[in-house]
């Protein structure tokens, strides 16, 4: 009884309809949180005592970096679920994650570079945090490349899932790189034990953008999953019924 919801999440028609229904409930709060958070970060938050107005890059850099890691973790979990239980919907979720994650990893690298230039005096350094984040981008691109190189969708799902699962070792390496090695990059200021290293006027806008990006990811994922499900359900009868209604 308690497991019926779990089994339904493996059913393509159920998930397709659920995604369509949930998307606006995620997308609009995401838009409000991101717009409000970025406004507060740019206008209301006080300047940093060391970095002046330059620290405001944090409101786009940290949420992009958070996305790069969170999306990869979701992708690897979905890929592992697809491999172990052979669930089509799980593979659809993993495939839907990759372009979202790759684009926000790119944003994290570019915004980090634009932050590093005035503060560290260089756009790029082969530093543990920066290098492991670049490896993350290459993992996403490798995943997307592998998928597009294999014509058979089921083989593409399985092969790319193995890559996604193996690559997940990079996620803790990125997160702890600033602790394990001597890095140019500053240590965590939100996700750490004890109190965050920021006053509320600086922290709250950041938390709003972080929450907004997370909801945005969920909304983008649901739209993409519907497309990925349709590609995997060629010839299924429910598709004809679903498309006849809309």
């Amino acid at each position: 009884m308690a497991w019926t919801w779990f089994h339904r999440l493996g059913s393509p028609p159920y998930v397709y309809a659920l995604c369509a229904r949930l998307t606006p409930w995620l997308a609009w709060p995401a838009a409000l949180l991101i717009a409000g958070g970025l406004y507060a970060g740019l206008v209301l938050a006080p300047p940093d005592y060391q970095q002046g107005e330059g620290f405001r890059i944090i409101y786009v850099h940290a949420p992009s970096a958070w996305m790069s890691l969170m999306v990869y973790t979701v992708m690897a979990l979905a890929a592992a679920t697809g491999l172990v239980w052979r669930i089509k919907v799980a593979h659809a979720v993993a495939a839907a994650c990759a372009p979202i994650g790759a684009s926000f990893t790119f944003a994290a690298l570019v915004t980090g570079s634009l932050w590093g230039a005035p503060m560290w005096g260089t756009f790029w350094e082969w530093d543990p945090r920066l290098t492991s984040e670049l490896v993350l981008l290459l993992l996403y691109l490798g995943y997307l490349g592998l998928r597009s190189a294999i014509d058979d969708p089921q083989r593409a799902d399985r092969a790319s899932a193995v890559l996604a699962v193996v690559g997940v070792v990079n996620v803790p390496i990125i997160h702890y790189s600033v602790v394990w090695w001597n890095s140019l990059h500053q240590a965590a200021s939100v996700m750490r034990i004890g109190k965050p290293a920021m006053p509320p006027a600086m922290l709250l806008p950041l938390l709003a953008v972080l929450a907004g990006f997370t909801l945005l990811f969920a909304a983008l994922l649901l739209v993409r999953v519907r497309g990925e499900i349709l590609e995997r359900e060629r010839g299924a009868r429910w598709v004809a019924q679903e498309l006849a209604q809309s």
């Binding site: 330059g54 372009p99 570019v110 739209v223």
Partner: protein
């Protein structure tokens, strides 16, 4: 207002960082919607072909 745009001398770094991030968000929204629209169009075409074959 001009002080806000000037960003305490960091304008050349702050504004491109925001522009890149907002562009990534916009491209993600456009890309996700396009993927779904194309998948629906492809599924409709397949259904039309299958319908003709059955007749």
């Amino acid at each position: 207002m001009s002080a806000f745009i000037h960003m305490g001398g960091y304008a050349a770094y702050v504004w491109p960082a925001y522009a890149v991030t907002l562009a990534v968000i916009a491209l993600n929204i456009i890309g996700a919607r396009r993927l779904l629209r194309r998948s629906i169009a492809r599924a409709r075409r397949r259904l039309a072909v299958a319908g003709e074959g059955a007749r």
